[in-house]
Point group: C2
Chain length 269, copies 2
């Protein structure tokens, strides 16, 4: 096998499984090549991945070491993702009445979701999370893609208890949008007590749901180490959670003039 073939294959294998550690021996065996050759291949793969602008290859030294691919996004690409999201949200056809916007097509589109997940994965890569937690339904894809990039399992908090979840813990909470009490539940098997989770969701208004997720996680002894939301509503200014990272802010939705105010989060680049 030629060097360029091995380098290409290494780039692909690492990219397919972000954050997964591969030993040098794995590649020696796979390509029937000497360790010295594979070392040079990996150096070349590092340069290659740097050039593509998506992430980087990291070497972990020691006996149980190896190389892994860390998902990343350049400031220029992050800005592109943000701008695409802003432009889509500004489309007047999304206005549903009552200040609601139709966003399911955005939250269910893998190409847009991947960009948002890359922003979250970069921002939270050193948060020390063991899980990515979300609440059903619309936030699941972006939470799942973020988890894929960070190589973490997902916890999905449910609205109702289900037989297939086994024993559950439930709480009642006040969502931001209404003063009607709502319920959420989590399987006791969802995560090991003492672990840490990152909360990722598609939308936040008052922060009631996010606060509820944090509360239910603390009931099963899981600590929240970060919160990311794709879209944060500007109003109400006073949220029920203080620490969160949005990709864009949603302002005034003017039904009569068909105008949607969207502001990118300038902290991203």
């Amino acid at each position: 096998m030629k060097r360029s073939h091995r380098v290409g294959a290494i780039c692909q294998i690492l990219t397919e499984s972000p954050q997964k550690l591969f030993s040098l021996n794995y590649f020696c065996d796979k390509f029937a090549a000497a360790k010295s050759s594979i070392s040079e291949d990996i150096s070349a793969a590092k340069e290659a991945v740097k050039a593509s602008g998506y992430g980087y290859i990291e070497t972990v030294s020691g006996a149980s070491g190896g190389v892994r691919y860390i998902s990343d996004i350049s400031p220029e690409k992050a800005k592109e993702v943000q701008n695409d999201l802003c432009n889509m949200l500004r489309e007047e056809s999304r206005i549903l009445g009552g200040g609601f916007l139709y966003t399911s097509d955005i939250m269910y589109d893998p190409s847009i979701v991947k960009g948002m997940a890359q922003i979250f994965a970069k921002h939270f890569k050193d948060a020390g999370a063991d899980y990515v937690a979300t609440i059903e339904t619309k936030g699941i894809p972006v939470a799942f893609m973020t988890a894929h990039l960070l190589n973490l399992p997902v916890i999905v908090v449910r609205r109702e208890t289900k037989i297939s979840e086994g024993a559950t813990v439930s709480i009642n909470y006040f969502p931001g949008s209404s003063e009607r009490l709502q319920k959420m539940s989590i399987s006791k098997r969802a995560a090991a007590p003492g672990s840490k989770a990152l909360i990722i969701d598609d939308f936040m208004r008052g922060g009631g749901s996010i606060k509820g997720i944090a509360e239910i996680l603390s009931e099963v002894e899981i600590e929240v180490v970060g919160t990311g939301v794709a879209i944060s509503n500007i109003e109400p200014k006073k949220k029920k959670v203080s620490n969160y990272f949005p990709i864009v802010y949603l302002g005034n939705v003017d039904e009569n003039n068909k105008f949607v105010e969207v502001i990118p989060n300038s902290q991203i680049y």
Copy 2:
């Protein structure tokens, strides 16, 4: 830039966006290289990707042509995914009582979900689908990952109507497990009438939910071109749908003897 760096970068860029077409000019501009060099790089990238065993690079000729990465999985790797899934399902700690198994950790784990999605993406790559459809909640990750590999948007059928879904179409249906009528709803904006969808879900018992999804899709003029389920229960033998592709079959769940019968679908390899 060296050839091996360009080849590695091409492999990575294509792998990051399955099924997305990139023109030769895109790479010429990105690497400031001549078309003849890029052509040779792409030939090398094809060999490299073939060696890694995940998929292949396809050339589309013509003025609007280019190259794209098609997700694939070798029979050996598909068998590995199946065996891993079988072994996990056989763990006696999953037995919940009433014949139920706890599977959320499997359905929410990106590394396992990716393998299942690769099997679905390979099986359905020529089905001509415009969308991947599923019903909330546990099937969303595998449906979404399959959609990512096929570069298609997702439709999520909801159990309840939500303000944020806009105008919806609802149906009542009989799930396989009980004779209690249930409801599902779909946003009228979810897909363009006249398009085609692939149904992907995590579990099928009698096929009532899958039949319901097909019915509600037909209400919004979407044709079903394939159905994939991660786990199909063997009983009842007579399903409400006739054409479906499971990864594994779930047989007897013996609570007393702590035994779970799981059989891989031999059609896969």
